[in-house]
């Protein structure tokens, strides 16, 4: 089938030395786009290259980044998850219900929220793996249901965490003493590392790749693909729950109407990061770089005071150019 393709330049996770080096190279290439964008803005605006602005960029990457990490797993299996945006809103609302309305201890409320996200993922997984509903449809339906339920559960009003100052600290506090570095970014880094390890070093991750690469062959190898697919969707759902916490902690309130559109941004981050929508390959590092490319562009264009209607035009063009350069380089490497 690949007769027309250029011979293999890529490697998969966990390969030998040559493969690892090649893999790194590639990520460096995606990374190069990011660096180029950074360099450009640093020259173009004196306000871009400041510590404060860097943390601002990182901070603005947290929610999309968290969603995109979960989405990476789903997309590597060859699936898609449209429910992460409104699902996140529902999880935010649920965290409000757990922590404010039910007055559960903070930790319990947080765990319950993350698990609630996992449960939504579980339902997606069951619909997809057992009932064989195409992922696009199953998660589209979940997207609509979550959108509605977020309003129903919250009675269409935000839930405020004013009585829970430690809740907002999860996002805006500074765990590292003396350094202005928001906890939210730490959280993103930690979950990214965990997700990266799970994806490359564990059975869950390996099966995620195998299912995306050839689901039938994986099943015939004696792997219960249904069970693992459900597990992967449920696992990805945990990130939706976490994103719900991160966004409501940042805002100090659970906003039931936020979220629509975040799924597309998350998918975009994943795809710009080099994960193929047809499944079988991708990486967490790539996803993070993809998310950073988007948020850096948004930030830089605003800093440069480009009129907003032009910002999208430029954003679109830069994404095209970044991805195209990446394709060119891969060809030449």
């Amino acid at each position: 089938m690949t007769a027309l393709e250029t011979p293999p330049r890529e490697s998969v996770a966990g390969g030998g030395f040559a493969a690892v080096a090649k893999g790194r190279l590639q990520q460096l290439l995606a990374f190069a786009s990011l660096i180029a964008i950074f360099a450009f803005f640093s020259v173009a605006s004196p306000f871009f290259f400041t510590y404060g602005n860097f943390t601002a960029i990182l901070f603005s990457t947290v929610v999309i980044g968290t969603l995109a990490i979960g989405t990476t797993f789903v997309i590597i299996t060859g699936g898609i998850d449209l429910a992460v945006g409104t699902g996140m809103a529902l999880c935010a609302v649920m965290s409000g219900v757990f922590i404010v309305n039910m007055d559960l201890p903070l930790v319990v409320g947080l765990v319950a929220t993350v698990l609630f996200g996992g449960m939504m993922g579980l339902i997606n997984g069951i619909n997809i793996a057992l009932l064989k509903i195409p992922p696009f449809i199953a998660t589209l339906a979940m997207m609509l249901v979550a959108e509605g339920l977020a309003l129903v559960v919250s009675d269409s009003a935000p839930i405020y965490f004013s009585e829970e100052p430690s809740y907002t600290k999860i996002s805006t506090g500074n765990l590292i003493p003396g350094v202005e570095f928001p906890n939210a970014v730490l959280v993103l880094i930690v979950v990214a590392v965990i997700a990266g390890v799970l994806l490359t070093k564990t059975v869950l991750g390996r099966y995620t790749y195998s299912i995306g690469s050839n689901e039938e062959a994986t099943a015939l190898s004696g792997i219960d693909v249904r069970k693992w697919k459900i597990a992967i969707y449920a696992f990805a759902g945990l990130f939706t729950g976490l994103a719900g916490i991160m966004i409501s902690a940042r805002l100090g309130s659970a906003q039931p109407a936020t979220g629509m559109g975040y799924e597309l941004q998350a998918i975009a981050a994943v795809v710009i990061g080099g994960t193929s929508l047809s499944g079988g390959k991708g990486s967490i590092l790539g996803t993070l770089i993809g998310a950073l490319i988007i948020s850096t562009l948004n930030n830089g264009l605003q800093i440069m005071s480009i009129p907003q209607e032009w910002q999208n035009v430029i954003l679109g063009c830069v994404i095209l150019v970044a991805v195209y350069t990446d394709i060119l380089r891969k060809k030449e490497a």
Binding site: S45, F47, F48, T50, G52, N53, A56, F59, S60, V63, L151, S156, A157, P158, Y160, S162, T172, E180, P182, I247, R250, L251, G252, S253, Q255, P256, A257, T258, M260, S295, N298, N299, Q302, I303, M304, S305, P307, Q308, E309
Partner: protein, 304 residues
């Protein structure tokens, strides 16, 4: 009147209850939820049944037209309508007229002679009020930024233009930056706010044109660690009220959405009964800040 039939949804139970269909500009935002609550309260009081629908964003004009079409199919006794775009709705308004269904416009006017009355506030004037306060707060000079929720909807442009026009005419020393639009999304507005602050170290104040933008601006300023910025908001809601109480926001203009909902239903009931109505009913707006936030008349117009 044959409009009072409860639909198949069977909400009302009482077939005699007049049915008022309200098609709003939005649904999920607090502002619209407050209108909805006001309308529902009043309807209950008057023994009427209302439904309240609105498109997900204020740019979904076609969706609103579909909603109006669907509600017309239910032959309501009256329709409350806040047009996203007056002209697009004209054929449907004509249809309502031919079916003898009175239409009450709300929130902003409708360029049509069909509506029997318009229950609204003047967004431009309200925004000008915000501008006036901003100018006072920053001492009549310096850089001021705008975070607006929408660049095409009437509420977005009126709240932007009202502010900018007042500044242009009355505060020549204030430099108003290019408005930025955050779609009313708190997170996006917060990110925008931080970028604005990074790019303009000499910024004096920020005006947020609706509740979502206001929350975003408050968060963005807080996260950036910048102090001394004067923030002026729009609408109410707990986050904004709290910010004004603790001083992180200087004040805000609020309309009275709950009252708008009430007046809308009152007008509709009168129209159903064939009573004469004034051409327009102004539900007004108020400036509130730390000094007057606990006044009874302000408290009454705030929603949380």
């Amino acid at each position: 009147e044959d409009g009072g039939n409860a639909g198949g949804g069977g909400g009302g139970g009482n077939g005699e209850q007049p049915y008022i269909a309200i098609v709003s500009k939005g649904f999920q935002h607090q502002f619209w939820q407050a209108v909805k609550n006001g309308a529902e309260e009043e309807a209950e009081k008057q023994g009427a049944r209302v439904t309240f629908v609105g498109p997900p964003t204020e740019s979904d004009v076609e969706e609103q037209i579909n909603m109006l079409t669907n509600d017309l199919a239910k032959s309501p006794a009256a329709i409350g309508f806040a047009a996203l775009d007056s002209q697009s709705a004209e054929p449907l308004l004509q249809q309502a007229k031919s079916q003898n269904i009175p239409v009450i416009a709300f929130d902003s006017g409708v360029d049509s002679d069909v509506p029997v009355t318009t229950v609204s506030t003047d967004n431009k004037a309200a925004a000008a009020e915000a501008a006036k306060h901003m100018s006072e707060l920053v001492g009549g000079k310096g850089k001021v930024a705008l975070v607006v929720h929408d660049q095409t909807s009437k509420s977005g442009t009126d709240r932007r233009d009202g502010f900018m026009e007042w500044m242009e005419q009355n505060a020549p020393d204030i430099e108003v930056l290019e408005p930025q639009y955050g779609g009313g999304d708190q997170l996006e507005s917060a990110n925008i706010t931080k970028s604005i602050i990074s790019a303009n170290p000499d910024l004096k104040g920020i005006y947020a044109a609706n509740e979502g933008s206001a929350i975003g601006v408050i968060k963005g300023v807080e996260e950036s660690g910048k102090t001394g910025l004067k923030l002026v908001g729009f609408d109410s809601g707990k986050a904004q009220v709290d910010a004004i109480r603790d001083g992180s926001m200087a004040g805000a203009v609020t309309q009275d959405p709950v009252n708008m909902g009430r007046e809308l239903v009152i007008a509709a009931m009168k129209a159903i009964d064939g009573e004469e109505l004034p051409k327009s009913i102004d539900t007004g707006f108020k400036w509130y800040d730390k000094s007057n936030i606990d006044d009874a008349e302000i408290k009454a117009v705030l929603y949380e």
